[in-house]
């Protein structure tokens, strides 16, 4: 390892113009396919967890001196050529894989490699390191990519229900003992027992706690994670599971429209308040409709509510600290 950077959270925005502006993914459709470029630096360092423990991570980062977990999200449209340059600053082998789209194979220590590939079917995908599986992925080498239908700005797939804004949630679990074995170049030798749970690299904070309201740390305030909207601001949420555990995603205040699971379009659109998120690179695509909460009396159009996982172990940090896990705020503005 060349460096040991102590960072609360790495800089996001690694991929420049490709990444979300103001948190939510922004996208302007094009009539024609284009070439989309990005650079990721594979770096390592430590991220402080809610109980203060500094845990080792590797990430697809925005510079050689930062650490980003997950990597900044990518967005492209079907048919685009993606040119992703990976700069491996570490002294271990890594890779860059999107299932069904690209596999860099081994990018050796200190090597730079550019992969070029065509963005496939519209949908939500995880990019990740497939080497030393699943340990490198769990140690932080993962991120999300959205592939839009060609020429469309408001659909998950051609003809899908439409949305007006979109976001990616990359969820994972962290067993610090596993991350520490990865740091030492060793294979984890204990049963996976996650102790921290993150959404887009952050976990929840609550009023009165340190870092409450800090968008770099508090997943309830991170603009790429928090859902904010007014009535009618239908929001596509691309939920990706980089971790090893199956979860249950629970939305308050509105049922979501369930469009896809593991990239497969659902034959019917069910309205759900709780949904199974499959483990090991599973995914869900849902639209949060931002409708007036239907059971309010008197009726309301504003309020603050949680999205949280209902497998409540994920709402803890370090074996306690309820509320400091995978959750965010849904703000009806």
């Amino acid at each position: 390892m060349k460096r040991r950077t102590f960072l609360q959270f790495g800089a996001v925005g690694a991929a420049g113009t490709l990444t979300g502006v103001g948190g939510l993914l922004s996208w302007t459709p094009r009539a024609r396919a284009a070439t989309v470029s990005a650079v990721y630096y594979i770096t390592d360092g430590y991220v402080a967890q809610p109980d203060g423990l500094n845990v080792y991570f590797k990430g697809y980062s925005g510079s050689s001196s930062s650490l980003a977990v997950p990597g900044a999200p990518l967005i492209a449209q079907e048919g685009d050529t993606l040119q992703i340059t990976i700069v491996n600053t570490l002294n271990s082998d890594h890779s860059f894989v999107i299932d069904g789209m690209v596999d860099s194979s081994v990018i050796g220590a200190g090597q730079v490699q550019t992969v070029s590939f065509v963005a496939g079917s519209p949908g939500s995908y995880l990019f990740y390191d497939a080497l030393n599986a699943p340990y490198n992925r769990l140690a932080g080498l993962h991120g999300g990519i959205a592939v839009m239908p060609a020429g469309s700005s408001n659909e998950l797939y051609p003809g899908s229900p439409t949305f007006v804004q979109q976001s990616i949630w990359v969820m994972t679990e962290i067993d610090p003992a596993w991350n520490d074995r990865v740091r030492r170049g060793l294979t984890p030798d204990t049963t996976f027992t996650p102790r921290y749970f993150t959404i887009n690299g952050r976990s929840m904070r609550v009023p009165g706690s340190a870092d409450y309201g800090n968008p770099d740390i508090d997943s309830g305030y991170h603009p790429g994670t928090r859902l904010s909207g007014s009535i009618g601001d239908r929001t596509l949420v691309r939920i990706l599971n980089a971790g090893m555990a199956t979860h249950s995603v629970h939305f308050h205040a509105n049922h979501v429209e369930w469009l896809a699971r593991n990239g497969e379009i659902r034959p019917d659109i069910w309205k759900k308040d709780s949904l199974m998120l499959p483990n090991n690179r599973g995914s869900l695509d849902v639209i949060y409709p931002f409708e007036p909460p239907p059971d309010a009396h008197p009726a309301v159009t504003t309020g603050h509510y949680p999205m949280h996982l209902h497998d409540e172990m994920t709402q803890t940090a370090g074996g306690g600290l309820y509320q400091f896990g995978i959750a965010t705020t849904i703000a009806f503005e």
Binding site: A245, H252, W270, S274, Y305, M313, Q315, T316
Partner: protein, 339 residues
């Protein structure tokens, strides 16, 4: 700002009952309900933290929950007495204005009621850190807009309090009343509510405040050793318990309201019977599906209609799955007997 609600993060002291010790990041309050109006139906609930169930192996496991009553002096469970598991069901009719009047605090610590799947205003959603944890009496006011199967549970230190059993069924009937799943939906003659939950008895010695101020109390790691259906041990008792097992006649239509009330994924197998799933999470499916088994994750609900064509005894199994490996950690069983 975060919310128009007054948030009061404080450290509070509790003594006696199940409270004991310091709590962090709770928000005790009992404000007036915004826009309080006359209700069509009222449920009074108070917390109890000294209930128990006896398992088939003879062991007694401590449980918490909600009692009926509690709105005034002498309410059940106020002093830390026992109470049922699961908590008493709520049943209302679509269109009704509902008051759920929760009395908490004092001996048993603060709690909330979140009506899971019901989508009211922030104040009435029962999530402590977005509004308040009830310290006194608060009236949750909400409107039952969609028929279907729901459940209610405590949302204070939820990881522990829901595991301890602080939940109960919540059913919204359509205007047609019980016997119809939803307006325009299927009818049924016989009904069962199967709330399937796993219990890690090692968590059941913890205090109300466990983990809230930090420290490792193991709430990241659930290792269940009992598997229940609607509060009855699924090892043996649920096979015959009249509150769980179903007896029906050939030609009748059975509605099973299946609630995944635990934290781990489940797989329910209907023993050879075919279920037609008409609703999930309180919403009709555009096209019902027919299945012989279902996988579900925490807090999902599936409403399943059965119409067996011939007599028989069908053994239903619920497997509780490890959230990482998917292996079966335990099984609960019950029966559908068709005469």
């Amino acid at each position: 700002m975060f919310s128009a609600l007054k948030l009061k993060p404080i450290q509070m002291m509790h003594t006696g009952g199940g409270g004991g010790g310091n709590a962090c990041y709770t928000y005790p309050d009992a404000p007036a309900t915004p826009g309080l109006t006359t209700a069509d139906v009222v449920f009074d609930r108070s917390a109890h933290m000294n209930g128990s169930i006896t398992m088939d192996d003879g062991r007694t496991v401590r449980m918490w929950g909600f009692n009926t009553g509690g709105g005034g002096m002498g309410g059940g469970g106020m002093g830390g007495g026992g109470g049922p598991f699961p908590s008493p069901a709520m049943r209302v009719t679509e269109g009704q204005i509902v008051h759920t009047r929760l009395t908490a605090g004092m001996m048993n610590g603060t709690h909330t009621i979140h009506h899971h799947g019901i989508e009211p205003s922030t104040e009435n959603d029962g999530v402590g850190h977005y509004s308040f944890d009830v310290n006194g009496t608060y009236t949750y006011q909400w409107k039952a807009s969609h028929a279907g199967t729901y459940f209610y549970h405590c949302h204070t230190n939820t990881v522990l309090h829901a595991e301890m059993g602080m939940y109960g069924a919540l059913i919204i009937d359509p205007p047609e009343g019980p016997g119809t799943l939803y307006s325009g939906g299927p009818t049924y003659d016989v009904e069962a509510v199967w709330a399937c939950d796993e219990i890690d008895s090692s968590w059941h010695a913890l205090s109300w405040t466990a983990g809230t101020c930090g420290g490792d109390v193991g709430l990241n790691d659930l290792n269940p050793d009992y598997f229940v259906i609607t509060g009855v041990d699924g090892a043996q008792s649920a096979l015959t318990d009249p509150g769980v097992a179903v007896t029906m006649n050939t030609g009748q239509r059975l509605l099973v309201r299946y609630i995944c009330a635990g934290y781990l994924p489940q797989r329910i197998d209907f023993g050879g019977l075919t279920a037609t799933v008409h609703m999930s999470d309180g919403r009709p499916l555009p096209n019902p599906i027919q299945v012989q088994s279902l996988e579900a994750s925490s807090a999902e609900r599936y409403d399943c209609i059965f119409q067996p064509g011939s007599p028989g005894i069908y053994e239903v199994t619920v497997e509780y799955l490890d959230w990482v490996s998917g292996e079966t950690l335990g099984t609960a069983r019950t029966r559908i007997t068709v005469q």
